[in-house]
């Protein structure tokens, strides 16, 4: 069955199909309609879950931590400021090895106020021990919710899926709704190895001295690294059942390319059009969409990029003092390779500014024109 739905409702329906059992959330634009729809689905019984309308995002994540520790499938969603407020509890969730799934509708952070799209919110959380996936379409959003629960429960780490404010969250697209019975087979009920249980009492998260703490961190790192293979397996399995798969990264028309554009989220859709146009004109331009950001898919990227001369990374985010965050990660991932492309870094579309085909053409033009990357990220699409 196909339905026309906005990205936010694709999240809600993905959560319903995944049979989440406790949902706790707080309203924030542009995430709000995710939890509005979920509260309706819970109220009319289509989703048998407890919906806890908390008084802050911090409490939303704390509720999820409690519920997941009690042994149930747990979900929340937020944006921008809300995610920033949650920060402390994101560390808590991963440290406690709880497979919570969260949708982040990427929104720029204040000050000044801005409710529009930018990834700096989620990328500021890159060191919290959450896997991060970035989605390009509403279909991918719904499918990724289901995949996220599967990945999270497999490796006992939380997963964050990200979608662009308004470009996805509030834009309607046709979305194929998977059969519930197929989803149930793909994602069986959550059976935690450990949970809070008076019949089998344990202490969770107690004071852990230097003699032990480090090993717990090491295990998280190992699980996070394992998460890459698991995410790939889950995507492959999803493809076999539902006929759609997305990869950890998605190369688009990269054959024989001398320049590859790298981006993520909804900008990837625009980039496809730009690449198609330039290919028609004989330019050897390709595009790679990065879907999995944490753990960073270094090997997969290297395989595509190794022989390419130039790579242009378009970041809708900024780490002040460094520049584009995807570009920074790319450079870090490739720095020990003997044969590697030059990484050109561009910042575009902050605070919801449109990243139009002319902006991406400009990125490609500048990358061709320059011999070497600039020392700093180049800001494109600026007011003149």
């Amino acid at each position: 069955m196909k339905k026309i739905m906005v990205g936010n409702h694709a999240v809600s329906w993905g959560v319903m199909l995944s049979r989440a059992e406790v949902i706790s959330a707080y309203p924030i634009t542009p995430q709000t309609t995710i939890v509005e729809e979920l509260s309706v689905l819970c109220a009319d019984g289509r989703l048998k879950a407890k919906f806890i309308p908390v008084e802050s995002e911090h409490s939303a994540m704390a509720c999820c931590v409690g519920a997941a520790a009690a042994g149930v499938r747990t979900f929340t969603a937020t944006s921008g400021q809300g995610l920033a407020l949650m920060h402390e509890m994101l560390h808590w969730a991963s440290g406690a090895r709880l497979p919570i799934v969260m949708a982040t509708v990427n929104r720029a952070l204040g000050s000044p106020w801005n409710i529009w799209g930018e990834q700096t919110d989620s990328l500021s959380q890159r060191d919290t021990g959450w896997l991060q996936l970035y989605c390009e379409s509403n279909q991918e959003v719904l499918d990724t919710v289901i995949q996220a629960f599967k990945i999270a429960e497999e490796i006992s780490l939380p997963v964050m899926l990200n979608l662009d404010a308004f470009f996805l969250s509030h834009t309607a697209e046709p979305v194929e709704i998977p059969e519930q019975s197929l989803v149930d087979d793909f994602l069986p009920p959550y059976q935690p190895e450990f949970r809070l249980d008076p019949k089998n009492p344990h202490s969770f998260g107690c004071m852990t001295p230097p003699e032990y703490y480090m090993e717990f961190r090491y295990k998280i790192q190992q699980s996070m690294l394992q998460g890459k293979a698991v995410a790939q397996q889950v995507d492959d399995a999803f493809g076999r059942v539902f006929g759609r798969k997305y990869g950890l990264i998605e190369p688009y028309r990269c054959e024989g390319a001398d320049l590859i554009l790298i981006t993520s989220g909804a900008i990837a859709s625009t980039a496809r059009v730009v690449v198609d146009n330039l290919r028609e004109k004989g330019r050897k331009v390709g595009m790679v969409k990065v879907r999995l950001f944490r753990p960073f898919p270094k090997d997969e990227l290297l395989e595509i990029l190794r022989q390419v001369e130039k790579v242009a990374v378009v970041d809708r985010n900024v780490s002040f003092g460094v520049g584009g965050i995807f570009a920074h990660e790319m450079r870090a991932a490739l720095c020990n390779e003997k044969v590697r492309p030059a990484i050109f870094s561009y910042i575009a579309g902050l605070g919801g500014r449109d990243v139009t085909p002319p902006v991406l053409n400009d990125v490609i033009y500048q990358t061709y024109k320059r011999q070497e990357p600039e020392a700093q990220s180049v800001w494109v699409g600026m007011r003149s």
């Binding site: 059992e21 406790v22 706790s24 879950a49 407890k50 806890i52 309308p53 908390v54 008084e55 802050s56 911090h58 409490s59 939303a60 704390a62 509720c63 999820c64 931590v65 409690g66 519920a67 997941a68 520790a69 009690a70 042994g71 149930v72 747990t74 402390e88 509890m89 808590w92 809070l196 249980d197 008076p198 089998n200 009492p201 344990h202 202490s203 969770f204 998260g205 107690c206 004071m207 852990t208 001295p209 032990y212």
Partner: protein
């Protein structure tokens, strides 16, 4: 009358004379083994024992400072989804985690009337970090952030009134000098559904600069000087005073504790006036 079995082991990390530790022991006797404890940052984060030990025989989840109530709400929802409607989910939180950093989450849970028990063991300052003032610290108190030449200038926040204003089904005060009263109230609260708040006055010899042998005596004096009256509030409206105080002067209580040693006669007088005024208010509510 109460469970003989101990659900707290003798091997914990508390200071001698710790009121919070006596409180936990009594509370667990009343709560029984079908209990899950939520402990945010507070003395009990340490007292419960470091990995791989636990001083408690019920499941415990340690959580962030301001999340005692919200973590408990999540656990309760999770248990209900698993079909467990019997287990008591109890947040066990210090005064800093209740009066200050955790008050928002607590207010949220109380407003939703989530089915949790919330214990505040109140030792009237941030004791785990080394005796800094909280909004539960009384007027005139020395702490490491309110030195004796500039002691706390504000009165203690009235947390019971804040909780009563949420019209939760049950709120009560209790203390270690009256263990039967404490266990009766906890047992009563356990049988009620919705948010239940238990405010435990919990002497801290270390932070109060008092001999550890006097903890229980100080708690008894707190009640008999009317500094900490023992009462219940049902539905946020029906007040019931459980122990008639002997009306002792506050000085008898204050002079046992080094944290009040610097108080002038005027300041003691101010404390007495405040205590008398608050007591009259409480009596009025109980007579209503």
């Amino acid at each position: 009358m109460y469970e003989r079995r101990e659900l707290m082991y003798a091997g914990h990390q508390a200071c001698a004379g710790c009121g919070a530790t006596m409180s936990m022991r009594y509370a667990l006797k009343a709560l029984g083994e079908k209990t899950i404890l939520v402990i945010p940052a507070c003395c009990w984060s340490v007292l419960a024992g470091p990995f791989p030990y636990s001083a408690l025989q019920v499941p415990v989840i340690h959580t962030a400072f301001e999340t005692g109530a919200s973590t408990a709400s999540g656990i309760k929802a999770g248990l209900e989804m698993r079909g467990d409607t019997e287990t008591t989910v109890a947040a066990w939180v210090g005064d800093g985690g209740t009066f200050d950093i955790g008050i928002q989450a607590l207010s949220g849970a109380a407003e939703r009337n989530d089915d949790i028990m919330y214990f505040c063991y109140d030792n009237e300052a941030y004791m785990n970090t080394g005796i800094q003032r909280s909004s539960a610290t009384p007027f005139g108190t020395w702490t490491t952030t309110t030195p004796a030449n500039h002691p706390k200038g504000q009165p203690k926040k009235n947390m019971m009134e804040i909780m009563a204003a949420h019209r939760i089904p049950y709120a009560a005060t209790c203390t270690v000098a009256f263990p039967e009263d404490m266990m009766r109230k906890i047992s009563k609260a356990k049988a009620i559904r919705g948010t239940r708040f238990i405010h435990i006055y919990s002497p801290c010899p270390t932070g109060w600069k008092a001999p550890s042998s006097l903890s229980v005596k100080i708690a008894r004096l707190a009640v008999h000087t009317k500094i900490f009256p023992l009462y219940e509030v049902e539905g946020g409206e029906r007040y019931n005073i459980n122990v008639d105080p002997k009306n002792l002067p506050v000085d008898e209580y204050l002079r046992l504790q080094g944290r009040f040693a610097h108080l002038t006669d005027d300041e003691v007088h101010t404390t007495q006036e405040t205590v008398d005024r608050e007591w009259e208010r409480l009596v009025k509510k109980a007579l209503d």
